[in-house]
Amino acid sequence: MKVSLFVTCLVDQLWSSVGTSCVAVLRRAGCEVEFDERQTCCGQPAFNTGYRDEARLVAKRFIEIFAESKAQAIVSPSGSCTAMVHHFAELFGDEPEWRERAAAIAARTHELSSFLVRVLGVDDVGASWQGRLTWHDACHGLRDLNIKSEPRKLIGNVRGAELVEIENAEACCGFGGTFSVKYPEISVAILDQKIEAIERANVQAVVSGDASCLMQIGGRLSRKGSKVRVMHLAELLNHR
């Protein structure tokens, strides 16, 4: 299957190993991966902060670029960015043709774990990683895209990895985009409750499908001098 990678601006600039791991995992699962260098951003930061006009411009560009791709699927290592693409249609209230084009793109845009398990039917990519880890359900992936069992299936097949569930796996990490810097104290207060549960679980790593959550969680863990590291699902699945 031919896949077009939607790498996301965050991964592109701040966590490129997530992108390279994602490509490696998709190839191992039998996909041919293309990367359109004209892509930049899905528009989520603007959309979530109420800048609909700016978000609309960027969304249109996204739709135009990816509509040209012959790939059967557009795959992204980010639940929130994938969810954004699925929300594109909301931006085109009085532009019915764009609404249709947005729906068409959304129909073939998938988050990585959802693509592997639901579309390819693959839940084992031959990865191995020794140790105890826990999974953080990133909000948009969980609630907008119903991603819950897929990452757990994939992690379950990582040789040597022991998945420990924290009691508030579904609780928000407090990132919320610009919320994290508009209300930093509240953001960190929410985060600390997640950190508490992680520390109680006695794990070596926290894994999630969203780099933004991992930046939030990882940033606090390292500030507190914790030995727990953060890892993106793509990185875990690429580990041998």
Binding site: G50, P184, Q216, R223
Partner: protein, 456 residues
């Protein structure tokens, strides 16, 4: 505390260890009970869909249903009054009370009456008003406002309540909740027995029969609406249901969502006035229909869903922001996720411009809402409105225009990234808001796309 000082209010709340402890305990317990109660019904999702469909129907035809409700209620002896805003509602209620020579008023818990600041108006007109719901009684004694939609004194510890009762009611210090409760029972009974007017809210108004439905656990609503000669019920115009049978859906959803109970202890179904003068119950029933900004919300499907709210409080308990800062920080009558979306609509976006941003958009509220209000979508809608009306900061608007310009031009995007890398290396990045509490992941020396090109 008001809505315009939200940021400061929140910071103060975060530094209040006692408050945070009380909040954590209460919201955790409410959350567990709600989950269990919802799980105990196999048709929970069907009920939610049904409830939302009923509410959508009511709101889309609100004028018709209101006319039916009023006509039916009046035919059964109720007097219906219309109040365009809080001031008008208070004027009507004070006039009714003064005309009847009322001195003592007993009130049951009603967020709508908090919204219009009724107590202050009644006291201004020379009346003694006492809140009879235990939680509301506690905060009335403390001179505070409710911090939660269904558990007004949730922020207070047992110790704080005990100290309050000792100071205000003169009882010996005690740690026993049973004793505190029976103190309130005795004190308030005297007030019930001597009250001239009883004021309540309304949970549901039934258009088909003209019935008002009020639910509670304590019994003070039954007291308030049975003992005094005059009963005044304050009802937001959106509180209607079309048919009596619709209560099957809503009485299943409301108590489970609010406290995890299958049914609250008491439901009062009041249809007009008593048939005979010597029957038990009030001589008069006055229903005050309140608009106060609600009709404006009908103008768009996204905002209209705000009016479906049945005031269960489930969204508060599950909200990561509310869990940390509590209700007072919002500075408004309605706190939490629902408060963040209806307050700007009720009092004006300019006065409550911070509230729609005080959310990480996690969506937990939408998941638990019994009538499926899409609060995150509403928050985004309001953020868009704030931007449209230029209530936000000019610097931010220009920042996003620049952002869009960069994102539309891949070559500019890459140049900007390189510039940011250099800035990071030489000066560090100006993100104090992030780095005050968290380490910042540095911009990569080689981006993914550069790596991709290199390894082709």
């Amino acid at each position: 505390m008001n809505t315009e000082t939200f940021a400061e209010n929140a910071k103060a709340a975060l530094n209040d260890a006692q408050l945070r402890g009380a909040l954590r305990k209460a919201t955790t317990l409410f959350g567990i009970r709600r989950r269990e109660a919802a799980a105990s019904l196999s048709n929970w999702e069907d009920l939610r869909n049904e409830a939302r469909a009923i509410k959508d129907d009511v709101l889309l035809h609100l004028d018709r249903y209101l006319e039916a409700f009023v006509s039916k209620a009046e035919s059964r002896g109720a007097k219906v009054h219309w109040a365009r805003d809080a001031a008008e509602a208070n004027l009507i209620i004070c006039r009714l009370s003064v005309e009847r020579g009322a001195r003592n008023v007993v009130k049951s818990k009603s967020m709508t009456t908090e919204e219009i600041h009724l107590n202050a108006a009644l006291e201004g007109a020379g009346m003694r008003v006492v809140e009879t719901d235990l939680g509301e009684y506690i905060i009335q004694l403390a001179g505070e406002t409710p911090s939660h939609i269904i558990a007004p004194a949730i922020h207070k510890t047992k110790r704080q309540v005990a100290e309050l009762f000792t100071t205000e009611l003169g009882i010996p210090p005690t740690d026993d909740v049973g004793q505190l409760t029976s103190t309130a029972r005795h004190t308030l009974r005297e007030r019930f027995a001597s009250a001239d007017v009883g004021i309540s809210g309304v949970n549901f108004g039934i258009a088909e029969t003209g019935t008002i439905v009020i639910v509670e656990n304590e019994g003070n609503i039954r007291m308030t609406t049975s003992l005094p000669r005059t009963h005044i019920a304050v009802m937001g115009i959106e509180k209607l249901l079309p048919r009596f049978a619709d209560l099957d859906v809503f009485l299943k959803l409301l108590p489970r969502s609010g406290t995890g109970q299958a049914l609250s202890t008491y439901q009062s179904f009041i249809t007009g006035t008593k048939r005979n003068a010597d029957d038990e119950g009030p001589d008069e029933l006055h229903i005050i229909l309140l608009d106060n900004g609600r009709s404006r919300m009908l103008a768009h499907p996204v905002t209209r869903q705000s009016l479906a709210c049945i005031r269960c409080g489930a969204c508060l308990n599950v909200c990561p922001v509310y869990q940390q800062i509590g209700g007072h920080a919002y500075g408004s009558v309605y706190p939490g996720p629902i408060g963040a979306v209806i307050t700007p609509q009720l009092i004006g976006i300019e006065k409550a411009a911070q509230l729609p941003y005080a959310s990480s958009l996690c969506g937990a509220c939408r998941e638990v809402c019994p009538v499926k209000i899409d609060i995150p979508r509403l928050l985004l809608h309001l953020r868009g409105e704030i931007n449209q009306q230029r209530t936000n900061h000019r610097k931010e608007r220009w920042a996003f225009r620049l952002w869009a310009a960069i994102m539309l031009r891949p070559w500019l995007y890459e140049k900007t990234a390189v510039a940011a890398r250099l800035m990071q290396r030489w000066f560090g990045l100006p993100l104090q808001a992030w780095t005050s509490g968290r380490d910042l992941r540095p911009i990569e020396e080689e981006s993914f796309r550069e790596h991709w090109r290199r390894s082709r």
